[in-house]
């Protein structure tokens, strides 16, 4: 009898359980691709981890939603000294921090928070410097330790950054995730409680959404912050539902279990586009996939050989076959959407006959043997390096170049590329801050041509490098545009690489999602989004 009662009870519970939820709040569910490392963008390097911190934080400067333009964030305005080394920021007043179980803010955002956030990354003796492993990769990668001379609090609402040398992209750097501003007061409270690592797990920020909870590997919940300085969001709740398999993300989107999904399978796109409940947004990625030609190795020390190679490969066929049309043929390192893109340059035509003639002129009438490195992994700018390498191999064979495909484990591959081991290697880049400097200087500058540097062509060409350095030191955008346009002419003529494509990024969202804007940097941003 007891057993019967138990079952009846369970049955009744189950029945009531299946009723509709009592919530009427607007909740947007985003099917994301993976779990974050933590919630502090100062420490992270992956897009997945940056995405989860985005709703929570602000920076001194911000990228305009859906664009690469830099606009005021927590800094209302700024001035730059004539020599380009002193940046003075006027901070926004009345900005509130979030609160949680262990912290209730007693004051608004001010200069102390700016110093706290930057000093943590910069100063070895900062109490938080070693917390959570203390690797501030992006801060280091953007050369901040070398660049910064001092950060001073002038008054509560004025902060002065002094640089060692002028650096025009600095303002854009401050809009990057690693430069997110955290609460110094929260830091002090946690330190006192002896749990400093909580700052990276239970984040407090000034952003549009407050962090609610992270259920490891399952979901992340946020709620709209009613006192957000930019006004309360139209959404009440935001949920990241972690779903690693793209086919399952698509199934969830179709079933209405999520509203937005990341990284669809290219093969699913036609079906998504045909589905009236789904909108497929698309945008050219701020990236470049290319084949680097090592100018320090024969025969690529000869410009004619590099040009010949640029004419020997059928770029269009690669984009159709491997990118499945989701790629824009690249003429240049930077995509056409980025400012200073030089429209007047025409890409090398696919012309095997002319390529052969050029090779003969350079002393290689019968071609030559070379290696051709292909990475073992899929990257945002290159869906299938192996396949691309095979297509290139057959095109090159047609002009007498015998290419041998080489591959290594991804970490090893990158290391060897940057050490300058290969003759030809597939590689690529995704932009960080929307500044052309972030493409040209890191991929083709002389500084990056050192062993271990990102210039895998090891191409250091003074006239080109001079233009880049000059552009770095000028803050006038019109002036900088001219310099980069001229630099592109040189890079095209000297051909240290074969640019393949800028991949197109797709973002399927359900029809009821209002005003979702794709981010050119590939982030997934939900501020300003609404549901019908």
């Amino acid at each position: 009898m007891k057993r019967v009662l138990l079952f009846a009870g369970l049955g009744a519970l189950a029945l009531t359980g299946f009723g509709a939820p009592a919530h009427a709040a607007k909740t947007l569910v985003y099917c994301s691709e993976g779990s974050p490392e933590n919630f502090n963008p100062q420490l992270n390097t992956t897009g997945t981890s940056f995405d989860v911190a985005k709703p929570i934080n602000n920076r001194l400067t911000e990228f305009e939603r859906g664009a690469t333009k830099v606009i005021p964030g927590l800094a209302e305005s700024w001035t730059i000294s004539d020599d380009g080394t002193v940046y003075t920021f006027k901070l926004r007043k009345g900005v509130k921090f979030h609160s949680n179980k262990s912290f209730k803010p007693t004051r608004d955002f001010n200069a102390d928070d700016v110093l706290f956030s930057f000093d943590r990354m910069w100063k070895d003796d900062h109490p938080y410097h070693k917390v959570s492993g203390g690797s501030y990769d992006y801060f280091g990668d953007m050369d901040m330790p070398k660049l910064l001379k001092s950060i001073e609090k002038v008054d509560d609402y004025t902060v002065r950054f002094v640089l060692n040398a002028p650096e025009a992209p600095f303002i854009a750097n401050l809009a990057m995730d690693f430069a997110s501003i955290q609460s110094a007061e929260y830091g002090a409270v946690l330190l006192k409680a002896g749990t400093p690592e909580k700052i990276d797990q239970e984040p407090i920020g000034t952003g549009p959404f407050e962090f609610v909870r992270y259920q490891k590997d399952a979901q992340i919940r946020y709620k709209a912050f009613p006192e957000y300085w930019g006004g309360k969001q139209a959404l009440d709740n935001l949920v990241f539902s972690i779903t690693p398999d793209p086919a399952v993300r698509y199934a969830k989107l179709k079933a209405g279990e999520c509203h937005v999904m990341s990284f669809p399978n290219l093969a699913d796109l036609p079906a998504m586009k045909a589905d009236p409940t789904i909108k497929v947004l698309q945008q050219e990625g701020l990236n470049i996939g290319y084949l680097g030609l090592n100018v320090q190795k024969k025969p690529f020390d000869d410009k004619r050989v590099r040009q010949a190679l640029n004419m020997a490969i059928d770029k269009k066929a690669i984009i159709e076959a491997v990118y499945q049309g989701a790629g824009v043929p690249a003429v240049n390192l930077i995509p056409p959407t980025l400012w200073s893109y030089n429209k007047t340059i025409k890409g090398y035509p696919f012309d095997p006959a002319k390529a052969k003639a050029l090779l003969a002129e350079a002393g290689y009438p019968d071609g030559f043997e070379t290696d051709l490195w292909a990475m073992p992994v899929q990257r945002p700018y290159n869906p299938n390096a192996r396949r691309i390498a095979e297509m290139m191999q057959s095109d090159l064979a047609a002009v007498g170049i015998k290419a041998k495909i080489v591959s290594y484990e991804w970490g090893e591959y990158r290391k060897r590329l940057q050490a300058g081991d290969p003759q030809m290697a597939l590689f690529g880049w995704t932009g960080d801050n929307g500044d052309p400097d972030n493409f040209f200087y890191v991929l083709l500058g002389c500084e990056a041509a050192r062993v271990g540097g990102g210039n895998i062509s090891k191409w250091c060409y003074k006239p080109f490098d001079d233009l880049l350095v000059k552009a770095k030191r000028t803050s006038d955008v019109a002036e900088r545009t001219k310099l980069y346009e001229a630099a592109q002419v040189i890079a095209h003529e000297e051909a240290p690489q074969f640019p393949i494509a800028h991949s197109v990024v797709f973002m399927p969202v359900r029809a009821e999602v209002v005003d979702y804007r794709m981010d050119p940097f590939g982030a997934h941003i939900f501020a300003g989004v609404d549901l019908k």
């Binding site: 189950a14 972690i242 279990e257 999520c258």
Partner: protein
């Protein structure tokens, strides 16, 4: 009896050390380095790389790292994840209940269907039902988990809309974890509809994970039953005039169960292996998904700790089955 228990426990110790060593070594044989794998296109300067390697102890010789690790394990410290910087043990314990919940439901489903199906197939040997059960179980046994999972999702979740696609709970609910077992937590939370949502989310993954054990149990039960049904005492029981239900359900089943129980114990390993795939497909936040990510990120402590804990679970369950077996069957207990 004590001697029997001691000998079984004694065999566990070398197995445990073997697994500690293997889990430590295997992940280090995978090419790639936890720091290099993190940095992407950007690369890392040799100085910073050296700094991090020192900090994580990766610059030490392998034998030294191993002894440090074993020392830690013996004192209950499995180290800290290289990625999240959280203690491996606490991450494991957060995620393990999800895996246990899924595995338990899967095995219960497999027993609930497999046992009767195997029994009936044995009794109705040679009939269409028998061939049907055996054919289906062979199909189930050969079904690749990822394919079977996607097939069920597309049919029942996308086409028919009967079950949710993935996850453990609808995003509309918010249940504070108390036990980690969502079926219990959702009841404890008192949130209306949460329990139903948790049950619905369990259905497909439990079916997918339970399919192989179900097939194995059905086949094992059938053959064990067939063997027992031919015994003299069954004929005697029948001759005595006992009802067929009593003969099969009581006399035959009890004796046929011994090999079946062993097989169920052995299925625990299969279940945890299958859970890795099932969890990835259904975005089920258990240890399977966690281990896969740890491999991708070369998170040595998480992976070696996780594998060790899973293996320990399997060893313990099998030890328990061994002991139980001895309790059930005196012949085994007393055998030298």
């Amino acid at each position: 009896m004590l001697r029997f228990i001691l000998s079984r426990v004694g065999m566990v110790i070398p197995t445990f050390f073997g697994i500690t060593f293997l889990s430590f070594l295997l992940i280090r044989l995978v090419p790639g380095d936890p720091i290099e794998v993190r940095v992407g296109e950007r690369g890392i300067s040799p100085e910073r790389l050296a700094m991090f390697r020192t900090e994580l102890g990766l610059d030490q010789p392998l034998w030294r790292q191993f002894f440090d690790y074993v020392g830690g394990v013996l004192s209950g410290d499995l180290g800290v994840s290289l990625v999240t910087r959280n203690p491996v043990l606490s991450e494991f314990l957060t995620l393990f209940p999800a895996t246990i919940e899924l595995s338990l439901c899967a095995i219960l489903l497999a027993i609930a269907i497999g046992l009767p199906a195997g029994m009936v197939a044995a009794v109705k040997r040679g009939t269409i039902f028998d061939h049907g059960v055996m054919g289906l179980s062979l199909t189930g046994y050969s079904m690749p988990i990822f394919w079977w999972g996607l097939l069920l999702i597309l049919t029942f979740s996308v086409q028919l809309g009967w079950t949710p696609v993935s996850g453990r709970l609808s995003a509309l609910y918010y249940v504070e974890p108390v036990t980690g077992f969502l079926l219990l937590d959702s009841l404890l939370s008192g949130e209306e509809g949460a329990f139903g949502s948790a049950v619905q989310h369990l259905i497909l993954p439990a079916i997918v994970l339970g399919t192989i054990p179900l097939a194995v149990i059905a086949r094992m039960t059938r053959s064990a039953m067939l063997e027992v049904l031919g015994e003299d005492y069954i004929r005697t029981a029948r001759a005595k005039g006992l009802s067929p239900v009593r003969v099969v359900g009581l006399h035959a089943l009890r004796n046929a169960l011994i090999p079946v129980v062993t097989v169920i114990g052995l299925q625990v390993g299969t279940l945890l292996g299958g859970a890795i795939l099932t969890e990835t497909i259904f975005a089920w936040p258990g240890i399977g998904k966690w281990l896969i990510e740890s491999i991708n990120r070369r998170d040595y402590p998480a992976l070696q700790g996780g594998v060790l804990l899973v293996a320990t679970t399997v060893i313990l369950v099998n030890l328990m089955v061994d002991l139980l077996y001895g309790v059930l069957n005196p012949r085994i207990r007393h055998r030298r």
